[in-house]
Symmetry: C2
Subunit: 403 residues, 2 copies
């Protein structure tokens, strides 16, 4: 079924409104409160960080999704404060944030999903939230997706939103939209940073959870900025059925493809906008003995500071790719390994082709790079992870994050 990109983000599908504004959490005066609302209660699904130091709002959202069996009307998010490692007060504040939103919208508390992002270990300024939530509800608009996407940013250099439309031919069209934020503490593991997907297709909660999990695997879960799964990673999906298109098993592949397309674009946006990033690097590992070997090696290469600095400097130092693969824990056979930068094979059958280094250096001046490492382990498993280069700017951003 044809899936085509369209303008907008979370409010591109019918029946969703959103807003974003500055309520006073960020000292900078930038937007820090974001709200997405479905006109009708929607099917809802979520995936959450595996970090054991989980933030309070994540526990609350898991409780809410369980209590409602996967129904939600709104997602309220503040940036500038992660509400993580904040003790019992953190949970009290997350609950109040849901209550305030529910009251202003006239829905049940447990139909509100809550997320926070920003500094860890600082309590939420609840007076700002109390004043901000009614303003955010009043500002809700059918074209408010862009404002909502802007209000969840922390160190992100640009907002991330994307949407597609799927034409089912016989049964009409539906849309999937999304927004996400990065851009440090990013290596989602079976979960992710903040990502929100909306669709006006009618999807049962169970199927929504399935498509969100499966689409995340090769998108949000396949990116890294700095190898740091965060305390606040989560992705939510809302499906309100406003398009009139109901998704059954026959339509599942089309829904998956639409979710994958939106999640892919948002995930790559997070990497492009990674802290200090100047290049997007796709790391593909092939010839792995097992699926988990392929992922393990791809992640090791994608998180290697030596690989990331070499790419930053435009240095085709392929030895660092081999070294990272060799120490990744995956089966690796040096004699059968192959390293390819762009279309240039720099190492194969145990032998270097260093005469190609100048051409590879030229290729690395680009912004969108492909690197492939065959582990030579005799298998046919493969995995692709997207990462960015490591620059002095990353150090600067993170050495001065709170100062």
């Amino acid at each position: 079924m044809p899936t085509k990109p369209i303008e907008g983000g979370v409010t591109a599908p019918s029946g969703f409104r959103a807003s974003g504004l500055h309520c006073g959490i960020k000292a900078s005066g930038k937007p820090d409160l974001s709200l997405i609302v479905s006109d009708t209660p929607a099917s809802a699904a979520g995936v959450f960080t595996l970090n054991l130091a989980k933030a309070a709002p994540l526990y609350l959202c898991q409780d809410h999704l369980e209590a409602t069996h996967g129904i939600a009307k709104a997602i309220v998010t503040n940036s500038g404060c992660a509400n993580a490692c904040t003790g019992p007060q953190g949970m009290t504040d997350a609950k109040e944030m849901a209550q305030l939103t529910a009251k202003a919208l006239g829905c049940r508390d447990d139909q509100v999903l809550v997320a926070s992002t920003g500094v860890i270990g600082v309590n939420l300024k609840m007076d700002k939230i109390r004043a901000g939530v009614p303003q955010a509800v009043a500002a809700l608009a059918a074209d408010g997706g862009a404002a909502a996407a802007r209000a969840i940013m922390t160190t992100d250099p640009f907002p991330k939103e994307y949407a597609v439309e799927v034409d089912t031919k016989l049964f009409g069209t539906f849309r999937v939209g999304g927004m996400a934020k990065g851009s440090g503490m990013i290596e989602p593991r079976l979960a992710t940073m903040l990502g929100y997907l909306t669709t006006d297709a009618q999807v049962e909660p169970q199927m929504l959870q399935r498509v969100l999990t499966e689409a995340s695997r090769y998108t949000f879960n396949a990116i890294t900025v700095d190898g740091e799964p965060s305390t606040n990673d989560c992705v939510f999906a809302l499906a309100n059925g406003a398009s009139g298109v109901s998704i059954n098993e026959n339509f599942y592949p089309a829904l998956f493809e639409a979710f994958r397309a939106v999640a892919h674009e948002l995930a790559l946006g997070i990497v492009r906008g990674g802290e200090g990033a100047t290049k997007l690097i796709s790391i593909t590992v092939t010839g792995a003995a097992t699926d988990s070997d392929a992922w393990m090696a791809a992640r090791a290469i994608a998180n290697s500071p030596l690989v990331k600095t070499a790419v930053h400097g435009g240095d085709p130092n392929w030895g660092r790719l081999v070294a990272a693969a060799g120490r990744s824990g995956a089966k690796f056979v040096l004699e059968g390994a192959r390293v390819q930068i762009g279309s240039l094979v720099l190492f194969e059958n145990g032998r270097p082709f260093d005469e190609l280094a100048p051409k590879a250096a030229e290729y690395l001046t680009g912004k969108d790079l492909k690197i492939e490492v065959n582990l030579g382990a005799g298998g046919s498993h493969a995995a692709t992870v997207w990462t960015c280069d490591l620059s002095a700017e990353y150090v600067k951003i993170n050495a001065e994050y709170r100062t």
Copy 2:
């Protein structure tokens, strides 16, 4: 038994001579060929990197130690070229390097251990090695340890050597000396970068292997600069018995303590001289459920770019310590966790003490820092890993390594 630090390095123990000179591998003109020789065939032991992309000289040394059942007379090392990922030519070159040294010294080829360090994937300039080895033999001196230590450096800002003397009271004294190099691609795993220990104690090869392995565990194996176990990591120990002190089981603890003391000092020197490093950070994890959990969490924190950049910027961002512990794979219970920077407890029983942040920031202006994270997992296992901060200089060094 009293163990006291003494001047010098690998030639501090009796019966060892060494040299270091420029033979022409480094374009900079800096020393690049290092030789350590025992006057008599010595007991020899080695530990090697677990990286599956192992360099040719490591395979050769493993063969030599097996063939001789742990006897060696010399260690020859070049810097500026790792002789890794160099195909069959790499092994041919490593063998010739051993032969050239054996011939000049008048010993068996398999009594020579060979090591290389530097750029991966480039073949050794054998004409330089052929001319250099006889010169290195001619330059051997009983006070040549410092020259040898200087000739194994790559990006190291200073040479690393250390020595101790052990007084056994009744049976005389013996000495242990050592030298090592870093300083990028450093996270030794059951092996290490280049480290050489010498002793004039008489130690059987099996016991020498045991003391080297055990002493490495809490020293060379407990450091990291960038989480990158290299292709060329190895540590060798030579024991020539020249002191007349023979080590039996009763003396083993004294030998272990001496080896640990030398290895500890060299290992910390590697971290202090880590690429771009400005601070030495000791990360201690306590309250772990298992020994492997303690190591896993300590390594995760020590390799976290967010922790390393925060320390670099003097920012007591303890939330990043909690986040790294929480994602490490170790059992972690947020409510029982505790974070201590210097003597300041910033997080305990699920609650932040952020009012101490200014004091912690002041502590972080120091050069030698202690951080402790209790996992709150109810166990009593602990581990300490030494790391350094991550600076813009690290990025600069590694973005320009080959250019």
